[in-house]
């Protein structure tokens, strides 16, 4: 299987965005229940998942749902429909959180008549604790297939201003890479630079961030905007 290079975040409450997401040719569509969804639209976003997951699954698109850490139980319940490839869990801090969520997914697979073990779990590390415990966390469920370096929450917790050089970032990327490779999981992350990060990243900045990450051993990353998909696909393409 080719590595999933571009993981495009699509706000799950926005039917137009969901309908058009495939135009950008992402390797993975991540229906989002986290930051891109305003709190007042969260219920609508959850309610729309059954249809969105089904349609993406029928179109052979790898569809994931990014849950919110604090509401992950209800979010997973809303996401578990035929066609779902996996759950993106941002900010795990401890192995038990991952094994518990894995068990919850297993229960939901049974309830919804899905094949046991079919739903993957992707972990995005976003805390100091999470990075330090990366290997134990990533081993806590056999469902974990990818381990990634989170973005906004991480900078907020560790302190640097997001617009400046985040000097810890390469250390955190290295730790993620080593853990993921040791466990045979996909390492996700890009070397975002000041002024070209998150939703503000330019196409050129995104391509550079992806290319440098590929040289460092990563094989894909999250795309905060649709415009980042093409440069990410290009940056992670083998040389």
């Amino acid at each position: 299987m080719n590595p999933r290079r571009s993981w495009m975040i699509v706000p799950a409450h926005d039917p137009d965005a969901v309908a058009r997401c495939q135009e950008h040719k992402p390797d993975v569509v991540v229906l989002d229940l986290e930051y891109s969804v305003p709190p007042k639209s969260k219920e609508a976003a959850r309610a729309g998942l059954a249809d969105a997951v089904k349609k993406l699954g029928e179109a052979q698109v790898d569809a994931f749902v990014r849950v919110e850490r604090d509401t992950r139980w209800a979010d997973v319940r809303a996401a578990m429909h035929r066609g779902l490839k996996g759950i993106v869990f941002p900010g795990p801090d401890a192995p038990e959180e991952v094994s518990d969520l894995g068990n919850h997914i297993a229960a939901m697979e049974k309830e919804r008549g899905l094949d046991p073990g079919i739903v993957e779990l992707v972990l995005m590390l976003e805390s100091a604790k999470g990075f330090w415990n990366a290997a134990a966390i990533a081993q806590a469920s056999p469902r974990v297939t990818a381990l990634g370096v989170g973005r906004i929450d991480l900078t907020m917790q560790l302190g640097p201003l997001p617009q400046d050089e985040f000097r810890l970032y390469r250390f955190l990327m290295t730790r993620t890479l080593v853990a993921a490779r040791m466990l045979g999981q996909q390492p996700l992350g890009a070397l975002w630079r000041p002024g070209s990060r998150g939703g503000e990243a330019t196409k050129a900045g995104t391509a550079k961030a992806a290319r440098e990450a590929r040289l460092m051993g990563f094989t894909g990353c999250v795309c905060a905007t649709a415009e980042q998909v093409a440069p990410v696909n290009e940056g992670f393409a083998p040389a």
């Binding site: 390469r170 890479l177 080593v178 853990a179 040791m182 040289l215």
Partner: protein
């Protein structure tokens, strides 16, 4: 260069932090095959501090018996120029390889492919049995770990603590890059292994051992670069905390031997520091100036440590010189 004498005033008692000087003077390591007909000559001419013997397992014969028959002579040949001798073994066939290659004259083994502490424990146990069986001093054989897997990096602290035999981390950058999915070409404007190197140096030092490696980008290109480039790369590696390097080219060895130690100029400066500070103390001063710099207790302690390091390196060079001067050498 001759050994610098500790000035009067340094009483020879253990210094605070003395263990911070390198445990081994192992600045340059050269890998040679026991099948190399030039083994003895190459080892002798190299002036390497240590030789790593690679013993290929020949599939067309009983490789264990074959190696058992050949290893003692290979160890003797590799040591002729005064080098310490190690044998490299693979994790997956470690026990069988140990049985075939461990003989008197070895300083230890280089274990390649380890992914966790259990691998070191397995090797350590076997070495204990072989030390008894083959008349080698108990506990004397060292285990050095060649880091080429993500597991060895992640579990480096457990690996280093797994046996008192642990001595050194050697970083096999090309294989480690491949196993991390990194491009093993220096196309980035930073060293992608920077933090891994920092970790291995810190971990090895924390258990009283040391780490061997080269600085980026020469660490990845491994090219037969010009003298100036190698000398500078060695200096950067020493400043990072490495105490030596495996040399892919014999031409690197001279620069590693000269660069992974305080230079003669540094040593002379430390002697001056120690003398001037001791005089100052006698006059009741807490700090004294030298060339516009203030010398106080930490600077004095560091000078003594570095001088000791320089002297030990010189002693090692003298040892090798004696080995080269032996009749029939």
């Amino acid at each position: 260069m001759t050994t610098q004498t500790m000035p009067s005033g340094a009483d020879g008692s253990p210094l605070a932090g003395e263990k911070l000087t390198p445990k081994y003077i192992r600045r340059s390591l050269l890998a040679l095959s026991i099948d190399d007909p030039q083994l003895a000559q190459k080892a002798f001419a190299s002036w390497a501090d240590a030789v790593i013997l690679d013993a290929a397992k020949r599939p067309d014969r009983n490789w264990q018996e074959d190696l058992k028959a050949r290893m003692p002579a290979a160890i003797h040949a590799a040591a002729r120029g005064g080098a310490e001798v190690f044998v490299r073994i693979e994790r997956d066939t470690a026990v069988a390889e140990l049985d075939a290659t461990i003989f008197a004259g070895l300083s230890g083994v280089v274990l390649k492919g380890a992914t966790g502490p259990d691998d070191v424990v397995t090797v350590s146990r076997r070495l204990s049995a072989l030390e008894v069986a083959r008349g080698i001093a108990g506990g004397s054989l060292e285990i050095d770990v060649e880091v080429n897997t993500p597991g060895a990096v992640w579990h480096s602290l457990e690996i280093a603590r797994a046996s008192p035999r642990f001595g050194v981390f050697l970083i096999n950058e090309a294989e480690l890059c491949r196993n991390l999915g990194m491009q093993a070409s220096p196309t980035l404007d930073f060293d992608p292994l920077e933090y891994i190197k920092s970790q291995l140096i810190t971990v090895a030092t924390s258990v009283g051992g040391q780490a061997l490696g080269m600085s980026y980008p020469l660490s990845l290109t491994e090219e037969n670069a010009n003298d100036d480039a190698v000398a500078k790369a060695v200096r950067r590696a020493r400043d990072t905390g490495f105490k030596g390097a495996v040399c892919p080219h014999a031409s690197w060895i001279k620069f590693c031997n000269e660069g992974f130690r305080p230079s003669s100029e540094e040593a002379a400066y430390y002697v001056k520091v120690i003398e001037v500070f001791a005089e100052g103390i006698k006059r009741g001063m807490a700090s004294v100036p030298i060339d516009g710099k203030m010398i106080d207790v930490p600077v004095d302690v560091r000078a003594k440590l570095y001088l000791k390091w320089a002297n030990r390196a010189q002693e090692r060079d003298d040892e090798k010189a004696r080995a080269h001067a032996k009749p029939g050498a």
